[in-house]
Structure formats: C-alpha cells, structure tokens
C-alpha cells in the first residue's frame, strides 16, 4: 500500500505514512504490545513510563510552547499559540520576543554567569573543606568512623530550610557572631554579614558539604592501603605518596562530589533568597521572581528553557559519556 498507488487518494496515503512513522516510536510500541496482551512485562514497563511521560516529558513540551507565547493579563496569563479565527483559518502566532528579551537584558546573562561563579566557588570550597574531613574519617578506627559517618548524615536528614535559617541567627547584625565579637571587645561596630554574597557562599557550602563528604569518603575508604605502604617502603615521602596515589585514586569521588554540589547549587533559590542581598543574582531566583513577582509566565518559561539548554543538557551528556566510559572499562 504505497502512498501513490493508494486507491483512496493522497489523504489516505498520508495517513498510512503517518501511521508508519508513529509505529516506530517506543511509546507506541509499548502501547500496542500492551493492547495485545494486557498482562505481563509490557504492563509493568508502562507504569513508570506513562507516569514519567505525563508528569516529566509533557510538562517540558508545554514550557517550550509557552516560552513562545505572548504575555497578557488574563488567566492563564499568556496568549494561545494557535487560534481558529474563522472556520477555516488557523492563526498561528509564535514570538521569539521572550528569548530576544533574555539576550538584550543584561540581567539574565549576569544572573546566569553569577550563578555559575557562586556555584563553582562554593563547590571548590566544599572540596577543600570536605576532602580532609573525608580523609580523616576514612583513616580513623572503624568504631569512630561509624559515629562520624552518622554525624555527617544527620544534618542531611534535618530540614534544609531550617539549616539555612539557622545562619540568619548567627550572621545578622545583632546575631550571635556579632554579639560575641562585640562582647569580647574585638569589634566595636557589627560586621554586616547578612544579605551579602559572603552569606550565600557560606549557606551553600554549609548545606551541601555532606554531599561532598559522602562520595569522597566512600572512595577513600575503599582504597587499598598497601599501595601506600609499598610507596613508603620504596622511599616515597608521604606528601608525594598522597599526590601520586591517594589523590588520583579518589578522582571518582571528587567528580561525584563536585557534581552533587554544583548541580543543585546553580539552580538554588532558597539560599540566595534568605541569606543573599537584593543584588545577589542567581538564575533560580530570577526565574522565581519572574514567575511569582512579575507574573510573566512566558519569560519565566524562556528562562527555564535557556537554563535547561545551558546547564542540564551539558550535565546529562557528561553523565552519559561517563557511564559509557565506565561500562567500557568493565
């Protein structure tokens, strides 16, 4: 039943063509198998599949769609992309104005760059603080090790929001740190620490430190210590042995830890909102304000799409290639 020889004309041929294209998609394959045999593997596979398609993939298509719409004051506050103006006229209106706006207004590129900078520096600080801690934990006695591990995990289970909040009490002008320093006579005027970039760095490092320590600890703990003994027997000094053996062997932990800190830190909203000042620009906060304060859904969607392309896609490609490399090593 080729398209041209179809007896019912070009429309039928087109439907057949569409059918063939549609049949190739995995979602279709699953539904068709599902229809044939209502029990068994396909049913099981389709449960998580359909859930994620509906609540994870389709939402992004909608975000993409709305990022091309125009803002208007209504509910929902954006224009439809297509409209039947009469019975036969379909009017399609796509605007790239939202994206043009992102490029023109320096706010967005600055916010993006400063999120990357803040997240990058915080990740580095986490590594500098976390590495010696993970090292110390991995080299301590096994009874102490378990207690220390528990102490690292404990803050992780307590509320993130409350742990960020705890810093307000410490950092504000009449907070614990300033009161203590003034009582000791070290300073006369309180140091302004709240609503600064410093507070944001502190908040991020504090909140994400356990995410750095845990993967580092697990690689350092697994390390074969006889390698270090061999190096020492051969006259290698401890510092050199550390640089030549321990550090390279802990690279997987370093990479995992840095990813676990950097990724959520870039999109962070709570920490800059609570600890940062009005001039602390972070992309997550910009998106939030665009949505909640300006009620500009199309621009918020455009920010989300830009963030996705600039941040999430590179990370996923990185993860994918890493996974392939790991499989290749096996």
């Amino acid at each position: 039943m080729a398209r041209n020889s179809s007896p019912a004309g070009p429309l039928f041929g087109r439907i057949v063509l569409w059918w063939r294209v549609l049949r190739q998609t995995p979602a279709f394959r699953i539904t068709s198998v599902f229809a044939r045999r209502l029990t068994g593997k396909p049913l099981v596979i389709s449960i998580p599949y359909l859930w994620l398609l509906l609540f994870f993939v389709i939402p992004f298509i909608i975000v993409l769609k709305i990022s091309f719409a125009e803002t208007r004051i209504a509910m929902p506050p954006y224009s439809p992309l297509w409209e039947w103006t009469s019975n036969t006229m379909l009017e399609v209106r796509l605007t790239i104005g939202n994206y043009a706006f992102l490029f023109q207004d320096a706010l967005y590129s600055n916010a993006y760059l400063s999120s990357m900078r803040i997240a990058g520096i915080s990740t580095l600080l986490c590594l500098i603080i976390g590495y010696p801690m993970a090292y110390g934990m991995a080299r301590s006695k096994s009874s102490t090790r378990n207690i220390l591990l528990l102490l690292v995990v404990l803050p992780f289970w307590t509320s993130f929001l409350l742990r960020v909040y705890a810093w307000i009490g410490l950092l504000k002008n009449n907070g614990v740190i300033n009161n203590l320093l003034m009582a000791m006579g070290i300073i006369k005027e309180p140091i302004v620490m709240m609503q600064t970039d410093f507070a944001v760095y502190l908040g991020i490092v504090y909140s994400y430190l356990p995410f750095m320590i845990l993967p580092l600890y697990s690689t350092l703990e697994k390390m074969d210590l006889t390698l270090l003994e061999a190096a020492a027997d051969l006259g290698c000094r401890p510092t050199k042995a550390f640089l030549k053996i321990t550090l390279p062997l802990s690279t997987p932990g370093i990479v995992a830890g840095c990813m676990l800190v950097f990724i959520p830190a870039v999109g962070e909203y709570v920490i800059p909102a609570l600890l940062g000042g009005p001039d602390t620009l972070m992309i997550g906060r910009v998106l939030w304000d665009e949505f909640f304060a300006n009620r500009d859904w199309p621009v918020a969607s455009a920010v989300a799409i830009a963030m996705l392309l600039l941040l999430v896609v590179p990370i996923m490609i990185f993860q994918y290639t890493q996974g392939r490399e790991m499989r290749a090593h096996k």
Binding site: T158, S159, L162, G284
Partner: protein, 283 residues
C-alpha cells in the same frame, strides 16, 4: 604516626564538624531564650519553654504540619511503588524498546533544578485543567503528584543498585521450579529489596517534607505546607517559634537516625553470625 599530618587531619575534622553543628546547636539553645529578639540572651528569664507552648498552640502551624505529613506519607508510598517498578524494569527486564529513554527520564529529575520542575509541572496542571477540567484547582493532589515525580527517581536509583548487587540466580531458580513471575516477585525479589524500599520510603518522605520550591509552584490557596509557612515567617527575620519547631524536628530526626543506625548494625551482626554458623556447620 602522630605527626604534623595527622594533627592537620584532626584539626580539619574538629573544625569541620563544628561548622556543621554550631548553627544547629545555636538554634536549639536560643529556642529556650525568653527574649523576643531571639539572638540576644535574656539571662533573667531564660531558659523558658514559652515558645514551645505558643508553637503547640499555633493552629496555623499545626495545620501546615499535618498537611505536610499527609503529603509526605502519600508521596513516599506512591514514589516507592513507582520507583520499585521502574528499578525492577531497569535492572531485570533486559533490553526492550525505549529502555535508554526510560533510564534517561528516571534519572533526569535528579539533576533538574527545582525551579524548572516546579514551573513545568504547574504549567502542565494549568493546561490539563483547561482541557480536561482535572485537577480542579491546585492543592494537596497536585503537590503529591509533583513530589512523587522527583521522589520516584531517588527510589529507582536505590532499588536498581540493590538489585544489581544480587544476582538473578534465586529468581531464576524459583522460575525453574514453576513459580509464576508475579509470585517470584512477591516471594523472592520483594524481601531481597525490602531494605532498599524502606530507605527509599524514608528518603521520599524527607524530600517531600522538606520541599519548598516545587510545593510553592504547584500549591493553591488553602494548601500551605510547613516549609512554605516557615519560609514566609523567616523571610521577615528570625522567629522564636521557628527555633522551637526546629529543635523538636532535630530531636525527632536525631533519635530516628541513631535508632536506624543501631538497628542496621544489629541486623548486620545477626547476618554475620548466621554466615559464620553456616560455615561452621558445613565444616
């Protein structure tokens, strides 16, 4: 080997843990402070429990806490079911059409910034409402669905890694003896992955209980979760009732985590003893 190096490591550990715990400890200490200024210690009237009393009398706070617990429990249960199925599919079903896509979209929520997930789900709910009339308005249902979507990703990872450490021989043996795949799952696989499911449930509960950003996007009027309420309070500065609440939560979590660690160690010891006994019996 007590040298400069181990002294440095010791200092790093002490300072590091001090850094992790000083904010929490200060929050706990100042929850007993009588002064409304919270961080200025009122030595005359303190310690006091008055913020605990006013916290437990605060209807708004209790309602928000109840709502959060309800959502967290529903979310954890749903996420565990979905995540277990996804983990099982990825670990045991071999190759099938769209496997790569499935493994991609189950791990994607882990790296997705919360603001994007929140925004996209809200737009989905708005679109669905205008087309199908469901979900009518936003509230407890939409928050639970949103939380399940990102929680199930964590459960999937946990269940999948648990399954990959077990080889399939037990399941194959049961199958060879004529057990139906469904029976194999409930009798063999499920008990094996039970620890993973339990920790997945707890993790999902915590993730949901703790979430502010996604809830703010997909909640509606009248459904203020506890983090949303706390956030609106602390944006205005420190609040003594929040300190009291934090202390209660920290106490509950500490007891829970310590108990869980103790229990896990005990199970481990029992298992080790059993293994040793089995070896001894064989000899």
């Amino acid at each position: 080997m007590i040298g400069k190096r181990s002294l440095f490591i010791l200092c790093a550990l002490v300072l590091g843990f001090a850094f992790l715990y000083i904010p929490i400890i200060s929050m706990v200490v100042f929850s007993f402070n009588a002064s409304k200024l919270v961080t200025v210690w009122d030595a005359y009237n303190s310690p006091t429990l008055k913020w605990y009393v006013s916290m437990f009398a605060n209807e708004q706070l209790l309602d928000a806490a109840k709502l959060s617990i309800t959502i967290a429990a529903m979310n954890a249960t749903g996420a565990v079911i979905l995540g277990t199925v996804a983990g099982l599919v990825l670990a045991r079903f071999g190759r099938f059409g769209g496997r790569t896509l499935l493994s991609g979209i189950t791990s994607a929520p882990l790296v997705m910034p919360e603001v994007i997930t929140g925004l996209s789900l809200l737009l989905l709910f708005v679109t669905m409402e205008s087309i199908f009339g469901w979900p009518a308005g936003r509230g407890i249902t939409t928050i639970t669905i949103a939380h399940m979507t990102f929680s199930m990703a964590y459960v999937t990872v946990i269940v999948q890694s648990r399954l990959s450490t077990f080889d399939e021989s037990l399941e194959e043996a049961a199958m060879d003896l004529g057990a139906h795949p469904r029976k194999v799952f409930f009798v063999i696989t499920l008990p094996i992955i039970m620890p993973a499911i339990l920790s997945g449930w707890l993790l999902s509960f915590t993730l949901s209980w703790d979430d502010l950003v996604i809830s703010s996007f997909v909640s509606g009027p009248g459904s203020t979760t506890l983090p949303m309420l706390i956030f609106s309070k602390v944006k205005l500065g420190v609040n003594p009732e929040v300190n009291a609440l934090a202390t209660v939560l920290v106490a509950i979590v500490s007891v829970g985590v310590v108990f869980a660690a103790w229990w896990m160690r005990r199970q481990e010891r029992i298992r080790e003893r059993d293994v040793q006994m089995a070896i001894a019996a064989n000899q």
